[in-house]
């Protein structure tokens, strides 16, 4: 009898995505220069082999438990539930994971994988800085050289995280091209990877980019949903009715949703950044305002003009400020399995404040988008329903940015 491996990276007849070409229906694929094609094949082989390697999996489990602090709690948000007066609200507390966000799940997994592949150098892009900090942390833990690319505008918005990365021994390379945000940091990281591909692993931070990155990131993030299932069964004796998560590239959302895709009764909602409003053009709502296209390795929805040039995006949250969205999300939307909505800057800031006041939890501005939509949705749901919101990160990094909006003109001290 052959030994069974508990991983969806193995062929699964009921959900065979990504397929052999790295596609989720028409989305995904590998739209990269030739130089990277071999590296992507090598990475996929190494990743699949690592999932069959007992030592690798045990090491990953040990770090998840002893270093990241998993499982993260599933917390019943009693006061918010009382205030909104609808479904019972639980927060999946990824904000309590080491480094303060779910990003560490993927970063640590990928850096372990890079080490197993014999790569000596790690690079990553970062928007809000959370993925950069998580990668710098994992690189410090495993003793690998690490460089992080970050747009100059994001450096300005997230100075605290820049210092954290440097403190962790990583070099932070400012990116001055284009819009100086996450998209440009990814371009620069890809340029570095093309140049140094032989000794370098690129830790892409979300379920975007060329195959196998969306798969790898999903597999390292799906622990969020696996724990949630067990925890909600312990707390309530049944599965939730609604799952909510913010969607930039979409890694925390896939992490929560994936485990429940085959539960037809569970409604799932991804919340994009509505910025100043979808009709203003100043947003990052790819499904509302984008078209099918290729950006940075994947076929998905992309905010672009009529000539196929990528448009600038806007969001109060650096982590959602991106012109495309993970291809698996595009697929789940086309299948009608997941709904995608957006929340504006103002709505997110209001939810940021409310969650802080009601629950003593300062959410990341990214997570605040999911909380903002919850404020609209939850009151309409009956009291016997259960909603789980992914608290994908904590908001300490955002307090300066939020203060500028919430306390305009006011001195903080």
């Amino acid at each position: 009898m052959t030994e069974s491996v508990n991983s969806s990276a193995m062929p699964n007849p009921s959900y065979p995505y990504p397929d052999a070409k790295g596609r989720y229906g028409p989305y995904g694929g590998k739209y990269v220069p030739e130089t990277l094609m071999y590296a992507l094949e090598e990475l996929e082989d190494a990743f699949r082999a690592s999932l069959r390697d007992r030592t690798f999996l045990e090491t990953l489990d040990r770090y998840r438990r002893d270093y990241i602090g998993r499982p993260t709690p599933l917390y019943f948000a009693q006061r918010m539930t009382g205030r909104l007066g609808g479904a019972k609200i639980y927060f999946k507390r990824e904000d309590l994971a080491h480094t303060g966000a779910h990003k560490i799940n993927n970063a640590l997994g990928q850096v372990l994988l890079a080490q197993r592949m014999g790569k000596t150098r790690i690079i990553a892009e970062t928007g809000a800085g959370q993925h950069g900090v998580a990668t710098a942390t994992a690189a410090a833990l495993l003793g690998l050289e690490c460089e992080i690319y970050m747009g100059e505008e994001d450096i300005e918005r997230q100075k605290l995280n820049v210092f954290r990365m440097r403190l962790l021994g990583s070099k932070v390379n400012p990116v001055a091209s284009g819009s100086k945000t996450l998209k440009d940091a990814i371009n620069e990281a890809l340029r570095d990877w093309v140049t140094n591909v032989r000794n370098t692993h690129y830790v892409l931070g979300t379920v975007h980019g060329p195959h196998p990155f969306p798969l790898i990131c999903r597999e390292f993030q799906r622990i969020i949903g696996q724990e949630t299932r067990q925890q909600i069964l312990e707390a309530e004796g049944r599965l939730p009715n609604v799952l909510l998560a913010c969607v930039g590239g979409g890694s925390n959302a896939i992490g929560l949703f994936f485990e429940f895709l085959r539960e037809p009764g569970i409604r799932m909602i991804g919340v994009e950044a509505g910025g100043l409003g979808v009709d203003t053009g100043r947003h990052a709502a790819r499904f509302a305002g984008g078209k099918l296209g290729t950006l940075q390795g994947a076929m998905s929805y992309v905010l672009q003009d009529d000539n196929g040039q990528i448009l600038g995006t806007h969001s109060v949250s650096a982590g959602l400020d991106y012109a495309s969205v993970g291809p698996e999300h595009a697929f789940l939307r086309s299948e009608g399995r997941v709904e995608y909505v957006s929340a504006t800057d103002d709505e997110a800031l209001a939810a940021f404040k409310l969650t802080s006041e009601l629950e003593g939890i300062i959410p990341a501005l990214e997570s605040a988008h999911a909380l903002a939509y919850a404020q609209k949705l939850i009151p309409k749901l009956p009291g016997d329903q259960i909603a789980v919101i992914n608290m994908s990160g904590r908001g300490d990094k955002d307090v300066q940015q939020a203060a500028r909006y919430l306390l305009p003109g006011e001195k903080l001290l």
């Binding site: 030739e34 094609m37 590296a39 093309v194 591909v197 000539n307």
Partner: protein
């Protein structure tokens, strides 16, 4: 027969090598681009590559990024470049290859892209971020119109990939001489010759070498073992420095002639 294939056949008969300059279309303006193409042809260019500006050129170094930005600042689009080529065809029959990222082509629509290229007089297309694995519909539509589909090979390409990629190439095979983005470098990599020889074991198609070739001595060296020499950033940088001046085309042509002579008389 496609103009690119015809040109390579002719060169092969003469025992000469192709000189292939790359310029960013729309930098400084499309009118100047047309002038520069004509001047390049007179200077000895066998094929001209026209870069379609893209907002996110992840395979390009700083020089080509900045040129694309300049072209985009006054709104140069794929449609505009096709219009320019169509007008240019009254004055020049030099083989023209569009060097582009896939998204502008995808946005234009594959159903219209090939026919419009054909109508304008474009001879070949190279999508830098479209490997053959993703190129099914794209290649079929261009093949049907006898427009060459050029794909890249790189130092990291395995034997299996060399086989697959060169099989999908028409016109010529483009070998990227180093791991990295476009841009000038001090010398030609030591392993280029061996890799070109390896590619030639898999295919009879012409092999042209680009990325990092910027001086006549590089061109001469490459021409000893490859069928074509591609020079981009060094020319693009020069155009950027000269700007929108009546002298731009003639000065670029002077530099191009030194490269063409080096490539042809190797």
């Amino acid at each position: 027969m496609n103009r690119i294939e015809a040109r390579f056949q002719e060169l092969r008969r003469q025992g000469r090598k192709a000189f292939i300059p790359y310029i960013a279309a729309g930098d400084p303006t499309l009118e100047r681009t047309a002038e520069i193409v004509v001047a390049l042809e007179e200077a000895g260019a066998d094929v001209v590559e026209l870069g379609i500006p893209f907002s996110d050129p992840l395979a390009d170094g700083a020089v080509n990024q900045e040129a694309a930005l300049r072209a985009l600042r006054h709104g140069t689009s794929l449609r505009d470049v096709l219009g320019m080529v169509q007008t240019l065809r009254k004055r020049s029959q030099v083989p023209i290859v569009l060097f582009t990222y896939f998204n502008p082509v995808h946005s234009y629509g594959l159903d219209r892209f090939g026919p419009d290229c054909r109508a304008a007089g474009v001879d070949g297309v190279l999508c830098v971020d479209l490997p053959p694995e993703e190129a099914g519909d794209y290649k079929a539509s261009l093949d049907a119109l006898d427009i060459a589909t050029i794909f890249l090979l790189a130092p990291t390409s395995t034997d299996k990939r060399i086989e697959t990629v060169s099989r999908h190439c028409t016109g010529f095979v483009y070998y990227v001489s180093r791991t990295g983005v476009t841009g000038e470098q001090a010398r030609v990599g030591v392993d280029v010759r061996a890799m070109v020889a390896k590619i030639k074991q898999h295919t009879d198609k012409p092999v042209a070498v680009g990325f990092g070739i910027s001086k006549p001595e590089h061109a001469a060296e490459i021409a000893r073992y490859a069928d074509g020499v591609i020079v981009g950033s060094a020319i693009v940088r020069m155009i950027g420095e000269l700007g929108d001046s009546p002298e731009t085309a003639s000065k670029v042509a002077e530099f191009a002639k030194s490269l063409a002579d080096a490539a042809k008389h190797a």
